[in-house]
Point group: C2
Chain length 202, copies 2
Amino acid sequence: MNTGRLFVISGPSGAGKGTICSRILEQDNVRLSISMTTRTPRDGEVHGKSYYFVSKEEFQKTIEEKGFLEYAEVYGNFYGTPKMEVMGLLKSGTDVVLEIDIQGALQIKKSYPEAVLIYILPPSMAELRKRITERGTETEESLNRRMGETLNELSYIHEYDYCVINDELQKAIQRVKAIMTAEHSRISEDIHKIVEQYKEEL
Amino acid sequence: MNTGRLFVISGPSGAGKGTICSRILEQDNVRLSISMTTRTPRDGEVHGKSYYFVSKEEFQKTIEEKGFLEYAEVYGNFYGTPKMEVMGLLKSGTDVVLEIDIQGALQIKKSYPEAVLIYILPPSMAELRKRITERGTETEESLNRRMGETLNELSYIHEYDYCVINDELQKAIQRVKAIMTAEHSRISEDIHKIVEQYKEEL
Protein backbone atom coordinates (compact mmCIF):
# COMPACT_ATOMS: atom_id res chain seq x y z
CA MET A 1 0.00 0.00 0.00
CA ASN A 2 1.24 3.50 -0.82
CA THR A 3 2.06 5.88 1.98
CA GLY A 4 0.14 9.14 2.23
CA ARG A 5 1.57 12.49 1.22
CA LEU A 6 1.88 15.60 3.38
CA PHE A 7 0.53 18.76 1.73
CA VAL A 8 1.27 22.10 3.32
CA ILE A 9 -0.99 24.92 2.17
CA SER A 10 -0.08 28.56 2.76
CA GLY A 11 -1.11 31.90 1.37
CA PRO A 12 -2.25 35.34 2.43
CA SER A 13 -5.51 35.78 4.29
CA GLY A 14 -8.06 36.53 1.56
CA ALA A 15 -6.46 34.25 -1.04
CA GLY A 16 -9.10 31.64 -0.33
CA LYS A 17 -6.97 28.88 1.16
CA GLY A 18 -9.53 28.09 3.87
CA THR A 19 -12.28 27.42 1.31
CA ILE A 20 -9.91 25.40 -0.89
CA CYS A 21 -8.75 23.31 2.10
CA SER A 22 -12.29 22.53 3.20
CA ARG A 23 -13.18 21.35 -0.32
CA ILE A 24 -10.09 19.17 -0.52
CA LEU A 25 -10.96 17.58 2.80
CA GLU A 26 -14.27 16.38 1.36
CA GLN A 27 -12.26 13.76 -0.56
CA ASP A 28 -11.68 10.27 0.80
CA ASN A 29 -8.38 9.49 2.40
CA VAL A 30 -7.42 13.09 3.21
CA ARG A 31 -7.24 14.48 6.71
CA LEU A 32 -6.44 17.84 8.27
CA SER A 33 -3.65 17.77 10.82
CA ILE A 34 -4.80 18.98 14.23
CA SER A 35 -2.43 21.37 15.94
CA MET A 36 -1.40 21.41 19.60
CA THR A 37 -1.72 24.72 21.43
CA THR A 38 -1.27 26.22 24.88
CA ARG A 39 -3.94 28.86 24.38
CA THR A 40 -7.30 28.71 26.15
CA PRO A 41 -10.13 27.10 24.17
CA ARG A 42 -12.67 29.57 22.81
CA ASP A 43 -16.40 28.94 22.98
CA GLY A 44 -17.33 25.94 20.85
CA GLU A 45 -13.76 24.73 20.34
CA VAL A 46 -13.40 21.02 21.00
CA HIS A 47 -10.22 19.31 22.26
CA GLY A 48 -8.99 16.87 19.63
CA LYS A 49 -11.02 18.52 16.90
CA SER A 50 -10.21 22.25 16.76
CA TYR A 51 -6.90 21.78 18.58
CA TYR A 52 -5.24 19.63 21.18
CA PHE A 53 -5.33 22.01 24.14
CA VAL A 54 -2.36 21.32 26.42
CA SER A 55 -0.45 22.98 29.27
CA LYS A 56 2.79 24.89 28.69
CA GLU A 57 4.64 22.06 30.48
CA GLU A 58 3.22 19.42 28.17
CA PHE A 59 4.04 21.56 25.11
CA GLN A 60 7.59 22.10 26.38
CA LYS A 61 8.01 18.36 26.97
CA THR A 62 6.90 17.64 23.38
CA ILE A 63 9.46 20.17 22.08
CA GLU A 64 12.21 18.46 24.09
CA GLU A 65 11.17 15.06 22.76
CA LYS A 66 11.39 16.49 19.21
CA GLY A 67 7.72 15.71 18.87
CA PHE A 68 6.84 18.60 16.54
CA LEU A 69 7.18 18.90 12.78
CA GLU A 70 7.09 22.65 13.45
CA TYR A 71 6.03 24.97 16.24
CA ALA A 72 5.89 28.69 16.93
CA GLU A 73 5.02 31.16 19.64
CA VAL A 74 2.36 33.71 18.70
CA TYR A 75 1.43 36.44 21.20
CA GLY A 76 2.63 34.34 24.14
CA ASN A 77 0.81 31.16 23.06
CA PHE A 78 2.45 28.13 21.51
CA TYR A 79 1.16 26.31 18.45
CA GLY A 80 2.68 23.16 16.96
CA THR A 81 2.12 20.27 14.57
CA PRO A 82 2.52 16.96 16.43
CA LYS A 83 4.80 14.67 14.47
CA MET A 84 3.42 11.36 15.73
CA GLU A 85 -0.14 11.91 14.54
CA VAL A 86 0.90 13.12 11.08
CA MET A 87 3.36 10.24 10.60
CA GLY A 88 0.75 7.71 11.72
CA LEU A 89 -1.76 8.98 9.16
CA LEU A 90 0.82 9.03 6.34
CA LYS A 91 1.92 5.50 7.17
CA SER A 92 -1.68 4.29 7.05
CA GLY A 93 -1.96 5.67 3.50
CA THR A 94 -3.90 8.82 4.36
CA ASP A 95 -2.90 12.17 2.88
CA VAL A 96 -2.49 14.93 5.43
CA VAL A 97 -3.23 18.61 4.79
CA LEU A 98 -1.72 21.33 6.92
CA GLU A 99 -2.89 24.94 6.63
CA ILE A 100 0.01 26.93 7.98
CA ASP A 101 2.03 30.14 7.50
CA ILE A 102 5.23 30.37 5.52
CA GLN A 103 7.58 30.13 8.54
CA GLY A 104 5.86 26.91 9.63
CA ALA A 105 5.90 25.56 6.07
CA LEU A 106 9.67 26.08 5.77
CA GLN A 107 10.23 24.35 9.15
CA ILE A 108 8.18 21.39 7.91
CA LYS A 109 10.21 21.15 4.69
CA LYS A 110 13.31 20.89 6.88
CA SER A 111 11.97 18.23 9.23
CA TYR A 112 10.10 16.30 6.49
CA PRO A 113 11.58 17.08 3.05
CA GLU A 114 8.96 14.92 1.27
CA ALA A 115 6.30 17.49 2.25
CA VAL A 116 4.67 19.19 -0.74
CA LEU A 117 4.40 22.95 -0.28
CA ILE A 118 1.55 24.75 -2.06
CA TYR A 119 1.13 28.51 -1.99
CA ILE A 120 -2.30 29.95 -2.82
CA LEU A 121 -2.15 33.35 -4.49
CA PRO A 122 -4.95 35.81 -5.24
CA PRO A 123 -5.16 36.85 -8.91
CA SER A 124 -3.72 40.29 -8.04
CA MET A 125 -2.83 42.43 -5.06
CA ALA A 126 -5.74 44.74 -5.97
CA GLU A 127 -8.12 41.77 -5.78
CA LEU A 128 -6.62 40.71 -2.44
CA ARG A 129 -7.14 44.20 -1.04
CA LYS A 130 -10.72 44.19 -2.33
CA ARG A 131 -11.50 40.78 -0.78
CA ILE A 132 -10.12 41.76 2.62
CA THR A 133 -11.86 45.17 2.53
CA GLU A 134 -15.20 43.50 1.76
CA ARG A 135 -14.88 41.43 4.93
CA GLY A 136 -15.01 44.74 6.81
CA THR A 137 -12.92 43.39 9.69
CA GLU A 138 -9.73 45.35 9.09
CA THR A 139 -8.76 48.98 9.63
CA GLU A 140 -6.92 50.77 6.83
CA GLU A 141 -3.74 50.43 8.87
CA SER A 142 -4.03 46.70 9.51
CA LEU A 143 -5.01 46.18 5.86
CA ASN A 144 -1.83 47.91 4.72
CA ARG A 145 0.19 45.87 7.20
CA ARG A 146 -1.33 42.66 5.81
CA MET A 147 -0.50 43.68 2.25
CA GLY A 148 3.09 44.40 3.29
CA GLU A 149 3.34 41.01 5.02
CA THR A 150 2.05 39.30 1.87
CA LEU A 151 4.69 41.00 -0.26
CA ASN A 152 7.34 39.94 2.24
CA GLU A 153 6.08 36.34 2.13
CA LEU A 154 6.31 36.34 -1.67
CA SER A 155 10.11 36.60 -1.40
CA TYR A 156 10.05 33.02 -0.07
CA ILE A 157 7.82 31.60 -2.79
CA HIS A 158 10.73 29.85 -4.53
CA GLU A 159 10.96 27.58 -1.46
CA TYR A 160 7.52 26.23 -2.36
CA ASP A 161 6.84 23.43 -4.82
CA TYR A 162 3.64 24.83 -6.32
CA CYS A 163 1.79 28.10 -6.57
CA VAL A 164 -1.93 28.01 -7.35
CA ILE A 165 -3.55 31.25 -8.44
CA ASN A 166 -7.09 31.44 -7.11
CA ASP A 167 -8.64 33.40 -9.97
CA GLU A 168 -11.70 31.14 -10.12
CA LEU A 169 -12.42 29.01 -7.06
CA GLN A 170 -13.48 25.86 -8.95
CA LYS A 171 -10.37 25.96 -11.13
CA ALA A 172 -8.13 26.55 -8.13
CA ILE A 173 -9.66 23.55 -6.32
CA GLN A 174 -9.15 21.40 -9.43
CA ARG A 175 -5.52 22.52 -9.61
CA VAL A 176 -4.84 21.59 -5.99
CA LYS A 177 -6.57 18.22 -6.47
CA ALA A 178 -4.45 17.61 -9.60
CA ILE A 179 -1.30 18.37 -7.59
CA MET A 180 -2.39 15.83 -4.96
CA THR A 181 -3.05 13.17 -7.63
CA ALA A 182 0.21 13.93 -9.44
CA GLU A 183 2.27 13.71 -6.27
CA HIS A 184 1.10 10.13 -5.79
CA SER A 185 2.80 9.29 -9.12
CA ARG A 186 6.01 11.11 -8.22
CA ILE A 187 9.09 8.90 -8.16
CA SER A 188 9.44 7.99 -4.49
CA GLU A 189 10.28 5.14 -2.15
CA ASP A 190 6.95 3.52 -3.09
CA ILE A 191 8.02 3.32 -6.74
CA HIS A 192 11.41 1.92 -5.85
CA LYS A 193 9.68 -0.84 -3.88
CA ILE A 194 7.45 -1.65 -6.85
CA VAL A 195 10.45 -1.79 -9.18
CA GLU A 196 12.18 -4.20 -6.80
CA GLN A 197 9.08 -6.42 -6.96
CA TYR A 198 9.21 -6.35 -10.78
CA LYS A 199 12.85 -7.41 -10.71
CA GLU A 200 12.07 -10.29 -8.38
CA GLU A 201 9.21 -11.40 -10.61
CA LEU A 202 11.56 -12.21 -13.45
CA MET B 1 0.73 34.18 -20.95
CA ASN B 2 2.23 31.00 -19.50
CA THR B 3 4.75 29.03 -21.52
CA GLY B 4 3.94 25.45 -22.41
CA ARG B 5 5.53 22.48 -20.68
CA LEU B 6 7.47 19.64 -22.30
CA PHE B 7 6.32 16.17 -21.24
CA VAL B 8 8.45 13.18 -22.15
CA ILE B 9 6.64 9.86 -21.97
CA SER B 10 8.54 6.57 -21.87
CA GLY B 11 7.81 3.02 -20.91
CA PRO B 12 8.11 -0.52 -22.16
CA SER B 13 6.21 -1.61 -25.25
CA GLY B 14 2.98 -3.09 -23.89
CA ALA B 15 2.68 -0.65 -20.98
CA GLY B 16 0.09 1.30 -22.95
CA LYS B 17 1.94 4.56 -23.49
CA GLY B 18 0.73 4.88 -27.09
CA THR B 19 -2.93 4.75 -26.05
CA ILE B 20 -2.31 7.14 -23.15
CA CYS B 21 -0.50 9.60 -25.44
CA SER B 22 -3.24 9.60 -28.03
CA ARG B 23 -5.85 10.34 -25.35
CA ILE B 24 -3.78 13.17 -23.92
CA LEU B 25 -3.43 14.69 -27.36
CA GLU B 26 -7.20 15.01 -27.61
CA GLN B 27 -6.93 17.90 -25.15
CA ASP B 28 -6.65 21.51 -26.32
CA ASN B 29 -3.26 23.12 -26.33
CA VAL B 30 -1.24 19.90 -26.41
CA ARG B 31 0.81 18.77 -29.40
CA LEU B 32 2.98 15.79 -30.22
CA SER B 33 6.50 16.64 -31.25
CA ILE B 34 7.31 15.37 -34.75
CA SER B 35 10.69 13.70 -35.07
CA MET B 36 13.17 14.10 -37.88
CA THR B 37 14.50 10.90 -39.47
CA THR B 38 16.78 9.73 -42.26
CA ARG B 39 14.87 6.51 -42.82
CA THR B 40 12.70 5.95 -45.89
CA PRO B 41 8.99 6.73 -45.47
CA ARG B 42 6.77 3.66 -45.20
CA ASP B 43 3.47 3.38 -47.02
CA GLY B 44 1.03 5.97 -45.75
CA GLU B 45 3.59 7.97 -43.78
CA VAL B 46 3.34 11.69 -44.44
CA HIS B 47 6.24 14.16 -44.28
CA GLY B 48 5.56 16.70 -41.52
CA LYS B 49 2.98 14.47 -39.87
CA SER B 50 4.52 11.04 -39.17
CA TYR B 51 8.09 12.36 -39.39
CA TYR B 52 10.16 14.99 -41.10
CA PHE B 53 11.97 12.82 -43.65
CA VAL B 54 15.37 14.29 -44.42
CA SER B 55 18.68 13.28 -46.02
CA LYS B 56 21.67 12.18 -43.95
CA GLU B 57 23.40 15.43 -44.92
CA GLU B 58 20.54 17.54 -43.62
CA PHE B 59 20.39 15.52 -40.40
CA GLN B 60 24.15 15.89 -39.93
CA LYS B 61 23.91 19.65 -40.49
CA THR B 62 21.19 19.90 -37.83
CA ILE B 63 23.42 17.98 -35.39
CA GLU B 64 26.28 20.38 -36.06
CA GLU B 65 24.01 23.38 -35.53
CA LYS B 66 22.96 21.86 -32.18
CA GLY B 67 19.44 21.74 -33.55
CA PHE B 68 18.32 18.61 -31.69
CA LEU B 69 17.01 18.19 -28.17
CA GLU B 70 18.10 14.58 -28.58
CA TYR B 71 18.97 12.22 -31.40
CA ALA B 72 20.02 8.62 -31.86
CA GLU B 73 21.05 6.15 -34.51
CA VAL B 74 18.93 2.99 -34.70
CA TYR B 75 19.89 0.25 -37.16
CA GLY B 76 21.72 2.73 -39.40
CA ASN B 77 18.92 5.32 -39.44
CA PHE B 78 18.95 8.58 -37.50
CA TYR B 79 16.04 9.88 -35.44
CA GLY B 80 15.97 13.22 -33.62
CA THR B 81 13.74 15.78 -31.92
CA PRO B 82 14.15 19.18 -33.61
CA LYS B 83 14.71 21.85 -30.97
CA MET B 84 13.30 24.81 -32.89
CA GLU B 85 9.83 23.38 -33.38
CA VAL B 86 9.47 22.26 -29.75
CA MET B 87 10.71 25.59 -28.40
CA GLY B 88 8.36 27.50 -30.71
CA LEU B 89 5.34 25.54 -29.46
CA LEU B 90 6.33 25.94 -25.80
CA LYS B 91 6.84 29.67 -26.25
CA SER B 92 3.39 30.00 -27.81
CA GLY B 93 1.88 28.41 -24.68
CA THR B 94 1.33 24.92 -26.13
CA ASP B 95 2.31 21.83 -24.16
CA VAL B 96 4.45 19.38 -26.11
CA VAL B 97 4.39 15.61 -25.65
CA LEU B 98 7.28 13.42 -26.73
CA GLU B 99 7.01 9.63 -26.80
CA ILE B 100 10.57 8.46 -26.58
CA ASP B 101 12.84 5.80 -25.09
CA ILE B 102 14.79 6.20 -21.88
CA GLN B 103 18.10 7.15 -23.55
CA GLY B 104 16.35 9.94 -25.47
CA ALA B 105 14.50 11.06 -22.35
CA LEU B 106 17.73 11.43 -20.39
CA GLN B 107 19.32 13.42 -23.25
CA ILE B 108 16.31 15.75 -23.22
CA LYS B 109 16.55 16.29 -19.47
CA LYS B 110 20.15 17.39 -20.04
CA SER B 111 19.43 19.79 -22.90
CA TYR B 112 16.13 21.06 -21.40
CA PRO B 113 16.05 20.47 -17.62
CA GLU B 114 12.50 21.85 -17.31
CA ALA B 115 11.23 18.79 -19.23
CA VAL B 116 8.89 16.60 -17.18
CA LEU B 117 9.75 12.89 -17.49
CA ILE B 118 6.92 10.40 -17.06
CA TYR B 119 7.46 6.64 -17.10
CA ILE B 120 4.46 4.40 -17.81
CA LEU B 121 4.65 1.05 -16.04
CA PRO B 122 2.47 -2.03 -16.50
CA PRO B 123 0.90 -3.29 -13.24
CA SER B 124 3.34 -6.22 -13.16
CA MET B 125 5.93 -7.97 -15.29
CA ALA B 126 3.55 -10.93 -15.66
CA GLU B 127 0.88 -8.59 -17.05
CA LEU B 128 3.42 -7.03 -19.44
CA ARG B 129 4.41 -10.48 -20.71
CA LYS B 130 0.73 -11.36 -21.13
CA ARG B 131 -0.04 -8.16 -23.07
CA ILE B 132 2.88 -8.60 -25.44
CA THR B 133 2.13 -12.32 -25.93
CA GLU B 134 -1.49 -11.51 -26.83
CA ARG B 135 -0.28 -9.26 -29.64
CA GLY B 136 1.23 -12.41 -31.18
CA THR B 137 3.98 -10.45 -32.91
CA GLU B 138 6.95 -11.66 -30.85
CA THR B 139 8.85 -14.92 -30.69
CA GLU B 140 9.61 -16.39 -27.27
CA GLU B 141 13.19 -15.21 -27.70
CA SER B 142 12.39 -11.62 -28.64
CA LEU B 143 9.78 -11.52 -25.85
CA ASN B 144 12.43 -12.54 -23.32
CA ARG B 145 14.81 -9.95 -24.74
CA ARG B 146 12.12 -7.26 -24.36
CA MET B 147 11.49 -8.24 -20.75
CA GLY B 148 15.22 -8.04 -20.05
CA GLU B 149 15.43 -4.60 -21.68
CA THR B 150 12.52 -3.40 -19.56
CA LEU B 151 14.24 -4.55 -16.38
CA ASN B 152 17.40 -2.78 -17.49
CA GLU B 153 15.41 0.43 -18.14
CA LEU B 154 13.94 0.26 -14.66
CA SER B 155 17.39 0.92 -13.20
CA TYR B 156 17.10 4.44 -14.61
CA ILE B 157 13.64 5.15 -13.25
CA HIS B 158 14.96 7.44 -10.49
CA GLU B 159 15.98 9.87 -13.26
CA TYR B 160 12.30 10.33 -14.07
CA ASP B 161 9.95 12.76 -12.33
CA TYR B 162 6.85 10.57 -12.33
CA CYS B 163 5.90 6.95 -12.73
CA VAL B 164 2.32 6.14 -13.69
CA ILE B 165 1.20 2.56 -13.25
CA ASN B 166 -1.24 1.60 -16.00
CA ASP B 167 -3.39 -0.83 -14.01
CA GLU B 168 -6.62 0.66 -15.36
CA LEU B 169 -6.38 2.72 -18.54
CA GLN B 170 -8.88 5.42 -17.49
CA LYS B 171 -7.14 5.95 -14.16
CA ALA B 172 -3.72 6.05 -15.83
CA ILE B 173 -4.95 8.70 -18.29
CA GLN B 174 -6.38 10.75 -15.41
CA ARG B 175 -3.06 10.51 -13.57
CA VAL B 176 -1.08 11.76 -16.57
CA LYS B 177 -3.58 14.59 -17.10
CA ALA B 178 -3.28 15.51 -13.39
CA ILE B 179 0.51 15.62 -13.75
CA MET B 180 0.14 17.99 -16.72
CA THR B 181 -2.24 20.27 -14.79
CA ALA B 182 -0.05 20.18 -11.68
CA GLU B 183 3.10 21.06 -13.60
CA HIS B 184 1.45 24.28 -14.74
CA SER B 185 1.25 25.30 -11.08
CA ARG B 186 4.84 24.34 -10.33
CA ILE B 187 7.03 27.20 -9.14
CA SER B 188 8.77 28.38 -12.32
CA GLU B 189 9.85 31.47 -14.19
CA ASP B 190 6.17 32.21 -14.91
CA ILE B 191 5.42 32.43 -11.19
CA HIS B 192 8.42 34.64 -10.55
CA LYS B 193 7.18 37.03 -13.23
CA ILE B 194 3.73 37.13 -11.61
CA VAL B 195 5.26 37.83 -8.20
CA GLU B 196 7.23 40.72 -9.69
CA GLN B 197 3.96 42.14 -11.05
CA TYR B 198 2.40 41.87 -7.56
CA LYS B 199 5.31 43.75 -6.06
CA GLU B 200 5.01 46.51 -8.64
CA GLU B 201 1.30 46.80 -7.96
CA LEU B 202 1.86 47.95 -4.40
